[in-house]
Symmetry: none
Subunit: 129 residues, 4 copies
DNA sequence: GTGGTCTAGACCACG
DNA sequence: GTGGTCTAGACCACA
């Protein structure tokens, strides 16, 4: 399903959170789709089930999935307009990235072009579903 | 000079790295300008000099500053075209941010507008220097 | 009759208990009225009859209903003055809620107002029956 | 510091969360005061440190404390006006409690009296600090 | 010394 | 079979 870097400084469970979050955001994992069972994913990644569970719980706290004991874990459908705080944080990050690009000598026009290209790709990817 | 959040779960030295990196990127600290001496900064921020040391070492490792033994640490001038790896990483991050914004329901057009607004602000700030 | 949230992390039988308890408390289910048969309710809610059984057993244990073997389950009439323990527990819960409201900055006067408003609504609802 | 019921159906870590939350809400644990170290509390309660940590992390997620690695865990000062959702939930719970009290035969006037008495006690307790 | 991560392995409730 | 809880015990980064 995906790869983990066990030697990374980032905790394994955090890497898991990021990877799964990405799959959800990119619509690879669809709303209400079931995630791999804790034990299954654990054995696939040769990682302790507790670590997977920690990742799942963190994803639940962050609002990306929901877990039903005895049933499984599922992708939580996003409700637009309920994450203003998150959006603000994203705009903030965006600002930092732009600053660094400018610092590295990328012309503003090129940044805009880059953004448009990325948007086209993402939108295209979405239409593929 | 700047503020640290000792309550944050982010390590102090990491916060330092981020803050100084920001000052360099935003051209507040100019190329070849000398950074505050370790002991001075330590007493100003009332934190352990070892922590400052670690932050400076990290900044040097990441290519934002250089150290001259016996003299101190200085801002490393950015040379356009020599940081393709970093640029690639930034584009990657940009992609993730865009994905999440789309996921949260922000229309593509609005993202472009947001970017342009941010660019205008940054460029304006730079011209002020 | 009512809705269950199969996505909730609360066990289905617990949700059932709460819902039915609410119906009894709010006098929608009257004293000595018969509850739906286990199998009927099970097919209506499309859940396992065993789950309904468990909920009914729990409700009986808590004193809200009584079962007549071969006949079915019925709402147990409340006899004022026989539930001091439950009342004490409720006062306890009330205390906790008040504490948290005060902690969150709600002025005492506003809490009293809120209570009176709620009481008016409940009493009104009861008169409607 | 407090007691746990190891035979209860409620998970130990949840009991811990509730108890500590109560201490914070009732101002027994003051803002920015340090909580007992994970290992210390674990040995005091003869419970596994992991369980304590799980409770602490949950409290952090719910906004009652903050943990700084290497430093300790501390009570997070409450910021009034930032918990509308929580307040709504509390009002909801309040409604249920009132319903049940009415069901048990408590006259509305008595409920108001009870509330006022509780408020007086809580306020008095706060003034004691 | 602090919180944090991770493993191995056991047991439980739910449906 | 599912998620959840708990223990015992090891190791790490930070200040």
């Amino acid at each position: 399903m995906f790869e983990l870097d066990l030697r990374s400084r980032a905790p394994v469970y955090e890497q898991l959170v990021e990877k799964i979050k990405e799959l959800i955001i990119n619509n690879v994992l669809k709303p209400d789709q079931q995630l791999p069972a804790v034990r299954v994913l654990a054995s696939e990644l040769t990682i302790n089930p507790n670590t997977i569970q920690k990742a799942y719980r963190e994803l639940e706290h962050r609002g990306y999935i929901y877990s039903v004991p005895g049933k499984g874990s599922f992708v939580k459908p996003a409700v637009p307009g309920t994450n203003d705080a998150r959006l603000q944080a994203l705009e903030n990050e965006l600002g930092k990235i732009i600053s660094e690009m400018l610092y590295l000598g990328v012309p503003p026009q090129e940044i805009i072009t880059m953004l448009k290209k990325l948007l086209a790709k993402k939108e295209g990817g979405k239409l593929d579903d």
